[in-house]
Symmetry: C2
Subunit: 328 residues, 2 copies
DNA sequence: GTGAAAGCGCTAACAT
DNA sequence: ATGTTAGCGCTTTCAC
């Protein structure tokens, strides 16, 4: 930087002002030019670390997540990464399940790097217990929430998603709609079922408990559950599956009976697990979990908190859009 | 750090020595203890940025990849991340396709952070052209290679994978084995086919060109290609699919004819795309692309180069293991 | 064995 | 509008 200053015949301060586009420091265009030219000629590259040290801000956010366990983690990272980039921030990734190193240690390392804020993201929507160090900097939970509700969080609107899926089926003329639910107890299961019931009630369709069956969140689970539904005296003409993997199994059950999708039985899934939903035959209509959007919102909330704004609502909800494909 | 020094009644130098376990600086156990206690009592957390500035090493590697385009990118990141962590290095992630920002700019940002080395990873195995800035620091290509071969790279052993898949089918007693290949021209397509031919030749099985059919790398492509194979006068008893998505389509074609897997037709895929392979019914036997391993190897190579070791072989190859499930 | 002192490359008052 | 100066929090020679 000294070299640049010398070559442009100005002080380092001026170079700093120019390079940072410092507002208020009216640098004449001509000086500015000289500095920029000198920097370019010298191939000057600012040292972000030194800048961080002097300015006392690192421009980094940390994100803690189970990076590879689920294909979903990366979606959150992607969303957060892009939004962070827009704000000129970098993302430091720490994995919360990796090589045995305990989570708190990983977070500690993020703090040593002076991350300005932390995003703690879960792979599936649930209550979590975060290490206390997290609270030392602005922090937001993504796709999860802490039991005591003291940390701001952003979660998917499971109820809205369930309602939307069911509504789509109602709109297609179905009245007898089965639902295969996930293990009870998880927010995803509870919320989606609640949305299903809400949509039916709103449409004045009676809820038949025989049409509600729980199953393992796997293709096999979906297969058995679908069979159970199809074996009813008056089987459903449409099935809302708690997730795409179960929908995959349901497809098999339906096809095995020589029934067609969506002609004989319409199907809608949940999760929009691309590799499944987009490649099933016919392609699966499903509700998407807005991972990228949640990641981005997390970053926004972090920025807001860092800017001094109090963590507004304690839990923000993000819409789960319906993706129309060909199974309804 | 000054506080710690004061509390332990030593100089900052001593604190630094203790905290970094500096070899050669024989600090008596007693002093060491005092320093450590003081640090703990004060909740001292070293500032990694300041350390980097003073020591002139950042402990960061940068990785450039299309973060979310493919479910695979994350595997490379995961592998690299874990290995980097083992070596006490952090990983800075830059996306090479994200929000329009051009790739060279992203890399420039990594260099401003003084990343000590760069991993450039592709989502599918191919030749790439990397921006010149990449060469300013130790760099290695993962799952790709540069046309002029001047950068070290680590790529999957496609030929070995193809051979392994075919061998598995031969071992199961199949003699008439069809293969559905990917778009010709890509290393994956060429290599896998070559492995197929090698395995057949080694087993003295004649190669029948009617059993080799190319298709789009999608489920639909696999579906048509499988039908084409099954329509032959003497259809194959086993099909090696160029990737798992095509295998997904092949499953449909086979099942539609009332044939069973693996009873009537055995299937093996390639890629080990978890969400597909593990959930198809029956679960798909497939060859895995060693993304995590490649990421880890990339980090190792970076470390070696940074340590002054010349980039040994220009292209390192990593085995593609066969994952046995239930489709053979 | 431990400490003093000189930076690392930058930012930000404060002066001018 | 630009320069002077004092750090930011740490590492690392070099003395003692």
């Amino acid at each position: 930087m000294g070299d640049v200053a010398e070559r442009a015949s100005v002080s380092r301060t001026t170079v700093s002002f120019v390079l940072n586009d410092r507002p208020g420091a009216g640098i004449p265009a001509e000086t500015r030019r000289r500095v920029l030219d000198a920097a370019a000629a010298l191939g000057y590259r600012p040292n972000a670390g030194a800048r961080a040290l002097a300015a006392r801000r690192s421009d980094w956010y940390g994100i803690v997540t189970e990076i590879v366990t689920a294909p979903f983690a990366v979606e959150v990272i992607k969303g957060a990464h892009d939004r962070a980039a827009e704000r000129g921030k970098f993302l430091l990734i720490a994995s919360s399940e990796s090589g045995g190193a305990d989570e708190a240690t990983e977070i500690e390392k993020l703090l040593e790097q002076r991350a300005e804020g932390l995003i703690y993201a879960a792979t599936w929507h649930r209550a979590v217990r975060v290490p206390d160090v997290v609270r030392e900097v602005p922090a937001v939970l993504v796709n999860c929430f802490d039991a005591d509700g003291t940390l701001p969080s952003v979660v998917p609107d499971e109820v809205g998603g369930g309602r939307r899926a069911t509504q789509r089926l109602l709109d297609a003329g179905h009245q007898r709609i089965g639902i295969i639910t996930l293990d009870p107890g998880m927010p995803a299961s509870v919320g989606r079922l609640q949305g299903y019931e809400a949509a039916l009630s709103a449409a004045q369709v009676a809820i038949d408990s025989r049409l509600v069956v729980a199953a393992d969140a796997t293709a096999d689970g979906g297969y058995s559950a679908a069979n159970q539904l199809l074996d009813l005296d008056v089987p459903p003409t449409a099935i809302f599956c708690g997730n795409d993997r179960m929908a995959m199994g349901a497809y098999d059950a339906i096809k095995e009976r020589g029934l067609s999708i969506p002609g004989d039985v319409a199907v809608v899934g949940f999760d929009n697990q691309e590799v499944i939903a987009a490649y099933l035959r016919p392609r699966l209509t499903t509700v998407a979990l807005p991972f990228q959007e949640m990641g981005a919102r997390g970053v926004d909330m972090l920025a807001a908190i860092a800017a001094g704004q109090p963590p507004a609502v304690s839990s923000t909800t993000v819409d789960c859009p319906l993706l129309e494909r060909s199974s309804v």
